[in-house]
Structures are given as structure tokens and as C-alpha cells.
Symmetry: C2
Subunit: 385 residues, 2 copies
């Protein structure tokens, strides 16, 4: 059976040279050899985060890094402003609660971006808020939140600015230092195009000051331990890391350095723009407001009378292209096309054509080629994508 094309918002297709890196023999994680690999990988992570601060790799999923971000700064009763406009915004709030924090929820309608003025209003009203959490790219809805603008608001207050860039880093603009982000987290299996199982985190000096004063109930995700081990020369991890995944991360980051971060973000922007143009040309409706549309995943309203099984089942079983469904209350109501990681114009063209055939088979009155033409038209004449 030939490979299924993953057009989902993670895990994404991993380049053969990254897969190959994992077939290297395991080395002692306490050896100088591994220390050099970890150092390289940490440094490239900071480069991708666009920060002068150190980065740390955690063996675990993006959720582990989200918990590391919140669980090391929040104690019982601490007030946290959680911006919630989708499943992952909710997750930050659930983690806040698990660690005894007292959340103020800024609820944003799913499919819309937060208004920075609303953040300002809440921070103005309550000076005890210790941290603000926001999800840059809400994978569940295909919305990109304005993290630069929210950062400008938060910097006038004492609160730490905690940003989840799990499904945006490497595919959209994230300037950790430039945006005044105190804690930024990401995952391996999204725009970085490494296999799942690694997460990364970076913390500002202000964040470390709070971490140092906070009694955390996490052990595996205790960032003080990561710092203590990371400060060694060469650096170490506090617990045995996944050596193979570290090889993969390093190679995936090498690829990003070769492509260039700026170019990579352009490629993602173009793929997103082309995808939106294609689906609209086919008469489908976008779920997210277009002014806040994500660079890395597009959520599309399920056409009237079509089931998730019809749509995604046909795409998967007949055309061997895997799309994502809706999450929670959006289950069956939207489907999502992930265009992150190594995705290029070629995969967008292919996916659009398969989507046309699927719609035609489901009885829709469309003309084959209309979506593809809109995709092509988006790319036509662009110098770099």
C-alpha cells in the first residue's frame, strides 16, 4: 500500500533524511557526544523561537510543554487570564486549574481571534493577574491570534506572557523576544516537521524569576531541573531523553536552517492562501473569519448533508489523503486541511483536485479544475513560495 498523504495539523510528513537520522545507534545520553547534539539542537531551537534566551527540549507531547509553562509559575490561588477560543485555549485553562490556579476566562467565539482591547480591559481591572495564556494558532479552529498586538498590551502589566506556538512555530511569524513573550512552547510534529514526541520551551529572565519563587507540584516537568542540567557544559537533560527523537529534531532543524525561517514562513503563508482560494472557488465556506485565518491549518464548514465519513472517508480511502475532522462540538461540522511542515504547492494542488473529485462524487454540482485553478492562480507570478 502506498503512503497516505498527511494533510492534517500534525503529525506531519517527516522528510526521509529525518527518519534516517533516527536509525543511528543509540549513544549514552550522559556522554560528551550526546551533549554536543543537545547543544546544537537547543541553539537551533532558540534561533527558531527568535530569542536570545535558552531553549529546552522535553521528551513528551506539546501538552507536556504547555503544562511545563503553566505548572512552573502557578501556585494555589494564583490568578491567570486564559484566552479561550478553541480546544487548546481550553487546555491551558484546564492545566491552570489542575495546578490550583484561579482562571479568568476570556472567552472568544470559536472561529474568531481575540481582541487585544479585551485583554487590556481585564488586566486593567485586576492587577493581581500573574500570567496571561494564549494559543497563537488554534489548531481546532484554524484561527491565528494576534500575539504581537496582545504582547504590546501585556508588557504594560506585571503578568507573564505565556504563548503556545505548538502549531505555528516555523510556519508563521513568532518573534519571542520581539513580541515580549515570557514563556513560549512548541511541539516537534507540526511546522517543524519532526516526528511527534518532543516539545520545546523557552523562558525569559522575568519568567525564571517567577519559576524560582514558585513551588511546583510537577517533577518530570520541573523547569528548575531542566535549567540545572541544561546549564552544564555540555548541556544535559534531567531525565533520560529520547536519544532517537533528538537526532530527528536536530535534522529537522537543520532542514529549517537550510530553507531559512523567513522563506519557510512565506511557504506556509502561500499554502494557506492557496488553500483558502481553492475551497472558496469550490463554493465551500471557511470556518474562521478570514482576517484571522491560520497559516498552517484551514477549517472548512462541512457542506449541508455531507457526513464526516463521506468527506474524510472518501478522501482517505479513495484518494489516500488524510484530512482532519472537527474537535469537540465541531465534530462533523467542519473538516480541516493541515498545510504545515514540509507541505508545498504540489500537495495543495493534489489535495484540491482530490477534494473536487470527492465533492463531485458526493453529488455536488462543481466543475473539475475550479479549485485547482484558484490554487494555481494564487501561486502564479510569485517569485518565491
Amino acid at each position: 500500500m502506498y503512503e497516505t498523504l498527511l494533510m492534517i495539523p500534525g503529525p506531519t510528513r517527516v522528510a526521509p533524511r529525518v527518519l534516517k537520522a533516527m536509525s543511528e545507534n543509540i549513544v549514552n545520553h550522559r556522554s560528551a557526544l550526546f551533549g554536543e547534539i543537545l547543544k546544537d539542537t537547543n541553539e537551533m531551537m532558540s534561533e527558531v523561537f527568535q530569542t536570545e534566551n535558552d531553549s529546552y527540549l522535553i521528551t513528551g507531547s506539546g501538552t507536556a510543554a504547555m503544562e511545563a509553562a503553566v505548572g512552573n509559575i502557578v501556585e494555589k490561588g494564583d490568578k491567570v487570564l486564559n484566552i479561550v477560543g478553541g480546544k487548546f485555549g481550553e487546555r491551558f485553562m484546564q492545566i491552570t486549574e489542575a495546578h490550583g490556579g484561579s482562571p479568568t476566562e476570556l472567552s472568544v467565539e470559536w472561529g474568531h481571534a481575540v481582541n487585544p482591547e479585551d485583554v487590556k480591559y481585564i488586566l486593567e481591572e485586576d492587577e493581581d493577574i500573574k500570567a496571561v495564556t494564549i494559543v497563537h494558532n488554534e489548531t481546532s479552529t484554524g484561527v491565528a491570534n494576534p500575539i504581537a498586538e496582545v504582547g504590546k498590551v501585556v508588557k504594560d502589566y506585571d503578568a507573564l506572557y505565556v504563548v503556545d506556538t505548538v502549531s505555528s512555530l516555523g510556519g508563521d511569524d513568532v518573534f519571542v523576544d520581539g513580541y515580549g513573550i515570557d514563556i513560549c512552547v512548541t511541539g516537534s510534529q507540526k511546522c517543524l516537521a519532526a516526528p511527534p514526541g518532543m516539545a520545546a520551551i523557552t523562558l525569559s529572565d522575568d519568567a525564571w524569576n517567577v519559576v524560582d519563587k514558585t513551588e511546583t507540584s510537577t517533577y518530570y516537568l520541573n523547569m528548575k531541573k531542566y535549567k540545572k542540567s541544561g546549564d552544564k557544559v555540555p548541556p544535559e537533560t534531567p531525565y533520560t531523553p529520547s536519544v532517537s527523537l533528538m537526532y530527528a529534531m536536530r535534522e529537522a532543524l537543520n532542514i529549517i536552517m537550510e530553507e531559512g525561517l523567513e522563506q519557510r514562513v512565506i511557504r506556509h503563508k502561500m499554502a494557506a492562501k492557496a488553500t483558502r482560494a481553492g475551497v472558496k472557488a469550490l463554493g465551500l465556506e471557511l470556518f474562521a473569519e478570514e482576517s484571522a485565518a491560520s497559516n498552517t491549518v484551514t477549517a472548512i464548514k462541512m457542506p449541508e448533508g455531507v457526513t464526516d465519513k463521506d468527506m474524510r472517508g472518501t478522501m482517505r480511502n479513495k484518494y489516500h489523503i488524510e484530512l482532519a475532522g472537527g474537535q469537540d462540538h465541531l465534530k462533523g461540522n467542519v473538516f480541516r486541511i493541515g498545510h504545515m511542515g514540509n507541505i508545498t504547492h504540489r500537495e495543495i494542488l493534489t489535495t484540491m483536485s482530490a477534494l473536487e473529485m470527492t465533492l463531485k462524487e458526493l453529488g455536488f454540482d462543481i466543475t473539475l479544475g475550479e479549485g485547482v485553478a484558484a490554487v494555481a492562480d494564487t501561486y502564479l507570478g510569485c517569485e518565491s513560495f
Copy 2:
């Protein structure tokens, strides 16, 4: 440069077919295809744990599973009996403290096994103890604790029996159901001979009853979420698992099934016995009391006047064999030979010969071949090893 032979207590050498499994393309972790892989892997894990209960795989190190074991049953003020005779026994106590538990430390001199009577004495004195933690194989000292005997004691009390088999499962006798273990944890990179980055846990009905009543502060390691996802058909994980490491775990477990668990334990026992015979023949002294000697790692007292750099440096740089050093206060005072995972008589013979050459070069008056002869004599005449 040719491969360094890892004779350390994890990570251990991974078979080429396991490394190769990781080069498979990434699939959607929410697909039926991945569900089948997870189901297979979970079931083989339960077989290796020798339990009728379900097992769960966690993307993370063994420490993540240790925290999952304690953090889901311990709330603020809960009394826990922590048996501490080495670094990993200490870790269980630190995790207990991180989760607000009130530890009673049963301190055992490093290098010795716990006396089950001492456990009985403490449980008899304090009926409020909610859980007993023990490390089966204390990797830091090369001691195997009598988990069967301690299990017989604990079953007369209400306390849950929590056992760390990170560096013993697959290399020593562990009968989770037979020993009355309520929560058992292990890691991928020790006797199971998979790459590091995966941990496994299994829980009894009694343990689940406590988990259900406990408000945990962990989110990533919340076992209720693992159970909810694991109960689906086919099973899922609550958060994105490392797909590549799951491929590797499945293949490593396939190898264990092919070898047979009983035979695998015999192989480890023989390797340990041969290692001890060899080092003693060379006039070196074992650190652990021999009646409690580990099947999977042997700690040896550093000979007078020899530095860690002399001993391990020569073995590594000249003979390309990696040994482990001492941990914490044993640093420089012991060195450790790991003989776990795929290690056979061949690697033990090689290591012993290199150790002889190293000692000779460091000025010791030994006869080349004495250690190797003792190793060979251990294996000679045995039918199966």
C-alpha cells in the same frame, strides 16, 4: 568511527530491526491503523508485566511513569512509605513530596536490599499509610529488592503496592499479578531494549479505585485521561504519542515474544552471574551484597588509587566500551557494568577482556585471561543462556 559498545544500565543497544521500524512513515495517531499498533503494543506490555490488567504507554522517560504512579494516588497530606536504598528510591520520595504527600522513609543502606520485616513493622505501626513505593532494581547500586516478599507483606494492609521495574522488567522476574503489585512502571530503554522516550504503566482495580478518588495536579500524566482514551476501540492516547517510538516499542516487544520472557530472564541472570564471577576473579570487589545482586547491572568498587577517568576513560577511549560511573555520593567510588537488553555472553566476554587490559595498563598485577576464564566457566555446561 566504529560503534561504542554500551555496557551501561540504559539506554541499551537497540537491535537494527527496531531502529529500522522507526524509519517507517509517520501515520495519523488518530487513525484506525495507529490504533491497531497501540493495541498490539499495550497487550504485549501487559504480557511482559505478567498481568491481566491493561497497560498504558506514556511518551516520556521512566521518571514520567514514576510520577504518573505516585501523582495519581497521592494528595496533600497522604502518608506514603518510601523504601529508599539508592537514587531511584529517593526519586520516588521526592515525587511523593512534590505532590504534597507525607513520606515515611524506610532508609536502607546503599548496596543492601530492604528487609520485608521492616516494611511490616512500619505498616503495623501506622495504618494510615496509603501506598508503599519500592524500586525493584536499584540501578544506582546494583541491588535487586525482594519485591515478591515485600508484596506478601503489603497485601495484608490497605496500602497500594507501587513498584518501579524500570531497570528490571524483561531482565528479572516480575509477576505483577502474582506479587500483588497495584501499580507497576517501566521504561523503554533498559531490559526491553527499545530506544529511550517511552514509559509504561499498569494499574490494578484497587489502584484505579484510589485514582478515581484522587484529585491529581498532573495534567500530562493524568491516568484518568489515559484510561478514557485507552478504553476506546481501537485505543487512543490522550495526547499525541511518539508514533516512531511506538513502532520501535512494538518491534522490541516482538523480539521479546520471540525470545520468550522466561528465556530472556535466564539470559540476564547468566550475564549477571558471569560478570560477578569475572570481576571477582580479577580481585575487584562488588559494591552490593551478593545475596541481593541485580540481574541487570553490577556495581563494582573502584580499586584504590584509580580515578573514574582512568577506569572508564580507558575503557571508552581505548576499547570503545562505555561503562557507567557512580551516582551522587558514589561518584568516583564505584563503576557499573550494565548487562541488560540484548547483552549476551559475547559482550560479557569482550567487556571482561577489555577490563583486564585496562587494569593491566593501570599497573595492576593481574594475569590476562583470569576474568574471561571465570566468565567462560560460568557459561560452560549450561544448556540455555
